[in-house]
């Protein structure tokens, strides 16, 4: 049986914008991935626990609240504390370009997609960057 890419799509914090997360979750499913969706209002701790139990390859955060500069690093650090830094963190949302750059350069996020990004580009990026073995 072929290995499938497993992705956790998560909405951290009080952010109630879930349209993007749902679009992404469905899009990744239609691209053949197994997508765990944990719903709104998740704490970083809950997200990291779910990522470990579900043994996902990727955590995809959807953040439209403006809190990305604290949430991305927090989740990355928690994964590391749990010895799970091999799980890749990426995401999307309304994140200014300068912050995208800072998060990626700081190593907190592997990649970030902002409004208007096509599903195709996101699927391609995940397929290219997740190392299945």
């Amino acid at each position: 049986m072929a290995r499938k890419i497993r992705v956790l799509v998560a909405k951290p914090g009080l952010d109630g914008h879930d349209r993007g997360a749902r679009v992404i979750a469905r899009g990744l499913r239609d691209a053949g991935m197994e997508v765990v969706y944990t719903g709104l209002h998740q704490t970083p701790e809950q997200i990291v626990e779910a990522a470990i139990q579900e043994d996902v390859d990727v955590v995809g955060l959807s953040i439209l609240s403006g809190a990305h500069m604290t949430l991305f690093p927090r989740i990355y650090d928690l994964l590391k504390e749990n010895g799970a830094e091999d799980i890749m963190v990426m995401g999307g949302g309304t994140i200014p370009e300068a912050d995208v750059k800072a998060l990626i350069e700081g190593g907190w996020a592997a990649q970030i997609f902002t409004p208007g990004a096509t599903l195709e580009s996101i699927v391609d990026w995940i397929n290219t960057n997740v190392n299945l073995n």
């Binding site: 049986m1 499938k4 053949g32 197994e34 765990v36 470990i52 043994d55």
Partner: protein, 321 residues
Amino acid sequence: MLQVSKLLEGDKRTAAKMITLIENDGEGKQQLLSEIYPHTGRAHVIGVTGSPGAGKSSLTDELIKRARGDNRKVGVIAVDPTSPISGGALLGDRIRMQEHALDKGVFIRSMGTRGSLGGLARATRDVVKVLDAYGCEIIIVETVGVGQSELDIMHYADTTLVVLTPGAGDHIQTIKAGIMEIADIFVINKCDLGNTKKMMIDIAQMLDMSPRFDGRWRPPVAETSVKNNTGIEELWSLIGQHLEYTQKSGELDQSVRNRLSMEVVEMAEEEVRRLLWEQFNKNGSMDDLLDKLAQREADPYNEARKLVQNFICQIPNGKEL
């Protein structure tokens, strides 16, 4: 790299990675499972099945709470359908259980069916074993929202809950004959939404018509509302009573034995099938044979017999396969 000793110590990451390996039919799976096997057989496995949206995940969440209240370690396997077209799956059951994510005594794993048709994933049975060895005393298996034929859960669970809703009452006789027969306990959930009386009567009549329950466990009906938090204590207590009954009557032992014989034969079947294909394909003149079959110069009935005969002759007495 994956150590059974770590699993037995309750290492979460090891459990999660073992499940992935088993799901993917990865290298070393058989070896791993046979090492795990001696440490299994302790958990009480509760199956939760029923129509899509009936409240299976919400009830599972409530059951986790009750089990934790009794200080029991809980594992959950939540199965959702894999799309036959894309091969992907949206695993959403966990949304209703996330409040337990930080509880060290709870391990929740979502799985796609990956082409299996019985309402569970093919690996479910083996994943139950991992969680059992990991130390879960109660393992809850939520099936996909079932139709007619997704009855596999009865072969895996010690206690099977069939979840219905009041709205389905009008046509209970016609729906899901199979599903109705696998219940150890019926749950009418969403009681807050409608009158359950008609459905209670329908279920009672159906049970009255069946002679199988004479002097044995007759599936009781729990009326619950997750929304209003009613009936769940009663359901939890019925689950305990069912376990006790099956233990005392010897039915639990019997069904464990049935399950084990199925498991051995199914695995042997799989292996024999693989070897038969190997033998069939290895036969150099296969193309010729297929030509002959297509031209109606040979027939599949005799060829099948020959294949089996050759296959058996090739196994020298006592030699290992």
